[in-house]
């Protein structure tokens, strides 16, 4: 649905009377007024394959065109094609978010391991892994992995699925998402960092970002 919203002058486009597309407005009363995001929200996906110590871009704005926007949600799906050559999908995979002045530096504005995202959901997956409370198993390259489906996922996100190799003591895959709701004023960059010390051990998967720009 497309609606019409009168914009106040702070946009710098006071000659414009109307903009089609809703915005999320923090009103003086302290309440958020939220409209449809159909026009202002987009989703992109990144194909990722960072080796140990590397980071791979999921999403970035072009710094030559400053813009103001927000990240609503980030999703990540990491998996292994085989039993070896991969980093740990929970304990080596880090989502890094760089906002504004942090873009182009080596210190992200925020970073979260997939393990941290599970912890925001109460650490359900890790807790069940510790007690071998898996849902089922699968066999890949003659190795059996435990499969964990999250029974409860916070409305802000969590790890929804994980594969665990008990003999190798590592996570062979993980799916997670998190609602970040963070805002940038000029530029933004989101990456997947592989925190494994071995450059030949990779993370493979896809990342998706739901974002929007202010009209």
């Amino acid at each position: 649905m497309v609606t019409t919203v009168d914009l106040p002058d702070y946009t710098g486009y006071s000659e414009v009377e109307n903009v089609y597309g809703d915005v999320k407005i923090y009103t003086p009363s302290g309440l958020w007024v939220v409209g449809s995001d159909i026009i202002t929200a987009r989703h992109v996906s990144g194909t990722l394959l960072p080796g140990g110590g590397e980071e791979d871009v999921i999403f970035q704005t072009d710094p030559s065109v400053p813009c103001r926007g927000r990240i609503r949600q980030v999703g990540l799906n990491l998996w292994h094609f085989g039993a070896s050559g991969y980093a740990d999908a929970m304990n080596d995979a880090v989502i890094r978010v760089y906002l504004d002045d942090d873009v182009g530096t080596d210190h992200p504005t925020m970073e979260m391991y997939v393990w941290d995202i599970d912890l925001l959901n109460g650490g359900e997956i890790q807790n069940r892994v510790d007690r071998e409370l898996y849902d089922t198993t699968i066999t890949v390259d003659s190795e059996t992995w435990e499969v964990y489906y999250a029974k409860n996922v916070s409305h802000r996100g969590g790890v929804t699925l994980a594969y665990y190799d008990r003999s190798g003591l590592m996570f062979m895959g993980a799916s997670c998402w998190i609602a970040l709701d963070c805002e940038w004023l000029e530029k933004c960059r989101i990456t997947l960092y592989n925190d494994n010390s071995n450059p030949s051990l990779v993370l493979y998967g896809h990342g998706g970002v739901l974002y929007g720009l202010y009209p």
Partner: protein, 77 residues
């Protein structure tokens, strides 16, 4: 009535089959404005699945360079 198109933002990301640029445009016509998003995909020269990580990086960087070139040709850089 004549309209003007202003680039609000250019978002770039490595998509599944190619490097993607999303170009956000503010189109003004008289006292009205609307937003449009154009999407350009520069295909990878080979599928990324099962490639060595260093090759993946190269494939993505080449696609990004071609994408930058296309954006430049469109006057967006």
């Amino acid at each position: 009535m004549a309209s003007t198109r202003e680039v609000m933002a250019i978002i770039k990301c490595p998509g599944r089959k190619g490097y993607v640029a999303e170009i956000w445009l503010r189109i003004k016509q008289g006292d009205k404005a609307r937003i449009a998003v154009d999407r350009i995909i520069e295909p990878y020269d080979q599928p990324l699945e099962k490639l060595d990580p260093k090759m993946v990086r190269g494939v993505k960087e080449r696609a990004l360079r071609r994408l930058e070139k296309r954006l430049k040709e469109l006057g967006l850089r």
